[in-house]
């Protein structure tokens, strides 16, 4: 894998999740799953992140926040929606305050279903995102050149 794919740094944001998926995301960093094997670092900072990992559906309050955080990430970047709520809005889809899945506000590259998504599935999704990241990177460099 090329440079970017070897050093993907994550930003984990909780849209309106019940925290189920968040716990699973954090589980990925524990010694059992050890995502640092892939060079993945869970940074808390959009300025330094390559992958935006969002759990939970988007509500009216988190909409602007998600958009802003996304805008603060440098190109190339990918978005992974973790859990069914982040993918489509899940069981909360029809709630008065929920807009729907993450893709209602920013483009999503990888959807990881599950309620809650299992750590293996999350890691799988991230690895999938790496391929897309690599393609985006090539496109980005070509555009810059």
């Amino acid at each position: 894998m090329a440079k970017l794919a070897k050093s993907p740094w994550l930003l984990h944001y909780d849209g309106s999740s019940c925290n189920g998926c968040d716990i699973e995301v954090l589980a990925c960093t524990t010694p059992v799953y050890d995502i640092e094997r892939f060079g993945i670092i869970n940074t808390g900072d959009p300025f330094q992140a390559d992958i935006l990992l969002i759990t939970g559906g988007i509500n009216h309050q988190s909409e602007a926040v998600v958009k802003q955080i996304y805008s603060q990430m440098p190109d190339p970047k990918v978005v992974v929606a973790v859990g069914i709520c982040a993918c489509t809005g899940g069981v909360f889809k029809d709630c008065y305050n929920i807009k729907g899945g993450v893709d209602t506000v920013i483009p999503v590259d990888v959807y990881v279903p599950g309620c809650a998504a299992r750590p293996q599935a999350i890691i799988d999704g991230v690895v999938k995102a790496l391929e897309i990241l690599q393609q985006k990177r090539e496109a980005f460099l070509a555009r810059r050149a």
């Binding site: 944001y13 959009p46 300025f47 602007a64 926040v65 998600v66 802003q68 955080i69 805008s71 603060q72």
Partner: protein, 637 residues
Amino acid sequence: MGMQIVPFWLVPILILWPVLAAAVLPLVRSARARGVVVYAAAAGVMALAAALLGGWLAAGAPVITLYADTGGVDHLMLAGELFLMALIIVLSVRYRQYPVILLSAAQTGLLLYTEQTWPAAGAFHMQIDCLTMLMCVIAAFVGGFICIYAVGYMKAYHRHHAEYADRSGFFFSMLFLFLGAMFGLVLSENLIWMYFFWEVTSVISFLLIGYTRTEEAVHNSFRALWMNLLGGLGFAIAIAVASATLGTVQLGEVVAARAVIPIAMLSLAGLTKSAQLPFSSWLLGAMVAPTPSSALLHSATMVKAGVYLLIRLAPALAGSATGMTVAFIGGFTFIAASMMAIAQNDGKKVLAFSTVSNLGLIVACAGIGAEETIWAAVLLMIFHSVSKSMLFQAVGAIENCLGSRDIESMHGLLLRLPALTYIMGVGIAGMYLAPFGMLISKWVALRAFVDADNYLLVIFIAYGSATTMLYWAKWLCKLVALHRTKEQVTDVTHRDQYLSMLVHAGSTLLLCLLFPLLATRVVDPIIMELFGEAHDVLSMSVLTTMAVMLVSVIFVPALMFLITRSAHSQIVPIYMGGANEGDNTYFVNSYGEPEHLYLSNWYLRFDFGMRRLMRPSVIVATGVLVVMLCVIVGGAV
């Protein structure tokens, strides 16, 4: 080399010219005319000092002694002293500060008695040498520009503070009178003459601190007065003992004789004047005065009179118990004042603490009294005078623009008052960043303390440098924060104020650039005169390293500016957890409403606050001072 006659007739003119200006200024009623008179007088002071310097240099920079026979002037001075005493008594009675009367009467009485009982043999009264000329140049140029600055400043000051009576005429008069006294003080070799000028500066400082006549100002001015009079009393005792035991009142002879009691008493006077612990509180209280007087008297020149005296005494202080005490007090003041400066958010208070702290370092150097330490002390004095005077002026100008001198309100000043911020930046960098003057001098001082086997001072300087760094660094960071506020600020700084500040900023940079020249041409001759020999304190390799550093400090950011200018970067809002309103100034709070972002500095008040540290510091310093004075005087009697 053809010997030229030094134009020593310039000496009395140099002293009397500002006195004349002081006499004329209260009579000038219109502000515009007063401004013109001040410009002319300040230009005259500078021209006279430059002429004296030029003539003296053309003659080969010799040591010259003047005025062996001065009967009439002596009587005039005696009358002046009595007048000062009367003035102090009248004001003390008016403000019910009776103990001050005792101090004043005691020293004047003692002096009168001494002059009657042990009339000193006729000898010269004034002396021109390298150190004197250096002090004159500092006083004339730094002082002259501060006076020019004050013209614009006082106009804005009284516009902002309509509650105070406008006594600008008196204010300028005092500034010029002070300059005259300062010239007299540094030129005097006769202790009685020096004492007279010393008292004049004390009283002027007292009058200027009380300028606004508020309760606080009056209270602080009397504190400054009694502390300085205590030093004056020490001075008078020194004169009495010297004429009784040695039969001389020549400073040089007293130093050469290493007379213990006079030296100790003169050191006490030096410590009070330079606001060392336990006497620091007078200088902190002096910050109520308008800024030009703080810049001139309370940082750039008058407080330097204290260290000037100590540097003169240095050969006698070396290796003596008095020297040890002075060095301890200085080092202790250095660290204690720099710690307390951390907890201050008033810009002028920080400058005051920093002044006390830096004077402490100079005093410590003088107390050790070795060649290397005096070398560092003289350099520190030069750099400190220029940078600190500039910083005071900049803070004064900023206060007039913002209506506040709180460091917190200077957040993002770079965008609001760019010119003043750059001046502040040069001043702050000059105070603590490598390789600017202060730091290099500190470095020499550190080495000298090691060589003098004074490990306590080494520890003081190590910790004191760290605390010094913090209070400057956080101020600098406050200034450079690129924070856009909605409130508009207009720069009301007058052109004459900018002239003065820019000259100061230019001198600061130039002094650093010409550092090797300064070291060899100015400092080495002074050491030569004081000690009879001078070694290279800094080797050539060190000077080259320093040149490399200086060039890099100036050029690296400039080069980086050029490199990064072409880089394209997309500007995005700062990170506020995604709740940035988009303008970097407001964020969405938990009610969904915009909330203003407020970023505060660290002040560590509970750990470094004045309330916590001042009292123990004063107790320690007083204890050491009292015990050591008893031991020294008791041992000598």
